[in-house]
Amino acid sequence: MISFSEVSKRYPNGFEALRNVSFTVETGEMALINGHSGAGKTTLLRLIAAIERSTTGSVIVNGQDVGRLNGAAIPFLRRNFGLVFQDQKLLFDRSVFENVLLPLQISGFESKAAVRRVRAALDKVGLLSKEKARPITLSGGEQQRLCIARAIVSRPSILIADEPTSNLDMEYAKDIMAIFKSFHQVGVTVLISTHDVELLGGTPQRILTLSHGELTG
């Protein structure tokens, strides 16, 4: 469960990215955060993963107040999440396989089981045949799917994706959204930010709309 209550975020330069935002996403729910660029979508997601801290208000994830966690506890909070970053953050000096292996190495996974999990994650996103390739040789859509494989490999209970479909063709984007929906169907909490609501393809989803840092719907 993710819960925001009266959260505001003001940056040192005075820019107020979020203003008095309150909402709750239940465990197993899938929600989209929609809004124009600069509306505060990325800031909202970064607050959840403790990459930034709110100026006022509290962010609660699985019963923990994220803003009050000390530095040593933050890595363990982050292991609850599968994060798909807007700028992907792939490691280009490692193979596709090694990129997906990284989260398991971080959580100290036993290596044989880790190999199986990495293959399963790559299979899920359709990249199993490219495990030895370098990320730079992949297409944009493939790189995005690689990010998703890295996010899901440790089987997180919460999947957070920041603009996962930007810069992708409609066809690719629909593929990506279908992958997220399949995770939602097996009980994972999914939170996706996007500026493009059309991708939903008419399926009823919860949509949180941000405008200039305020939640409008």
Binding site: A49, I51, G71, A72, P75, F76, L77, R78, R79, F81, L83, F85, K89, L91, D93, L102, P103, Q105, I106, S107, G108, F109, E110, S111, R150
Partner: protein, 302 residues
């Protein structure tokens, strides 16, 4: 335990991989560390060898006691009983003037010198060995002996070994100071290589932090990296010293044969080598740790 092992294995493998990625710079670093260590360690080996050698040459804490020419038999007897009772004296040997003359005549080249003389110009003498080598004992003894009746001169045969000992002490002090300075150099070298590593690995560190890596997880490969560099640097130093000994062993042996002494150069002992390897590895670790602590904090999220 299993997780602990897998973390360390992963960190060690990563450290080796990173070293192998920059072979040229790794070789240079190892060379610098090796040379830095080989200097004080080499001096240490040299001093050890000189000390062993001086031990072979010196005849122990000996004093020569020359009597006046007109000393009588009973006066010699008094000195003899004094030497017997003195607690500082381990042993002594009396050389009467007659046998001294015999010895002198037997020395090649000197025999003819004596023939022109009337009578025996040589005095009776005692060769005294002191109970211990300390300067204090030797001084007390030599003063006591020179105050005896009919003693002309007391000569401290081991004075030169004492001077050598003092020199060796000075050399050892110099080696220590050099060790301290070059240890700082090694720390600085490792510090800097790790700093460069961290700078080029900003992305990797950032991603790892974002997906839940603890600071320990990020630190560990760098610490292994520094420790490996230190350890291998120490081994390089050991090899440099071995090479030096190998190259000088024959000439030294030849030189020693001219002095009719059988002497071989000693290498660092097993224990000393081990201490050096541990020390160099420890310095590598320290340099890496300082670097990681001061630079890792600066990696922030974009």
């Amino acid at each position: 335990m299993n997780i602990w092992f897998s973390y360390h294995w992963h960190a060690l493998a990563l450290a080796f991989k990173r070293l192998a990625l920059i072979p040229f710079s790794t070789l240079l670093t190892l060379g610098v560390i090796g040379i830095a260590f080989s200097l004080p360690a080499g001096i240490y080996v040299f001093l050890e060898n000189v000390e062993t050698l001086s031990g072979q040459f010196s005849s122990g804490p000996q004093l020569s006691l020359f009597l006046k020419l007109n000393a009588t038999q009973s006066e010699v007897g008094k000195i003899e009983s004094f030497l017997k009772e003195n607690p500082h004296v381990a042993s002594f040997r009396f050389i009467p003037k007659a046998s001294a003359l015999e010895q002198f005549k037997e020395s090649p080249g000197l025999a003819g010198v004596m023939d022109g003389l009337e009578g025996n110009p040589l005095p009776d003498a005692f060769v005294v060995t002191a109970r211990d080598v300390s300067t204090e004992t030797l001084k007390t003894l030599s003063r006591a002996l020179s105050e005896l009746r009919q003693v002309e001169h007391v000569q401290l045969d081991s004075a030169w070994t004492q001077r050598l000992d003092a020199l060796l002490k000075l050399g050892r002090l110099a080696a220590w100071m050099l060790s301290v300075l070059l240890s700082l150099l090694v720390i600085a070298v490792v510090f800097n290589t790790i700093r460069l590593q961290i700078l080029t690995m900003g992305d990797e560190i950032e991603v790892a932090k974002l997906i839940g890596a603890t600071n320990g997880f990020i630190r560990r490969p760098f610490l292994y990296f520094g420790t490996i560099q230190g350890l291998v640097g120490g081994i390089v130093a050991w090899l440099i010293i071995s090479l030096g000994i190998h190259l000088t062993d024959e000439p030294v042996k030849h030189l020693m044969q001219l002095y009719e002494t059988d002497f071989r150069l000693y290498h660092l002992s097993m224990g000393d080598s081990l201490v050096m390897f541990l020390f160099s590895a420890g310095l590598g670790w320290l340099g890496a740790w300082l670097s990681v602590v001061s630079h890792l904090l600066k990696i922030e999220f974009r």
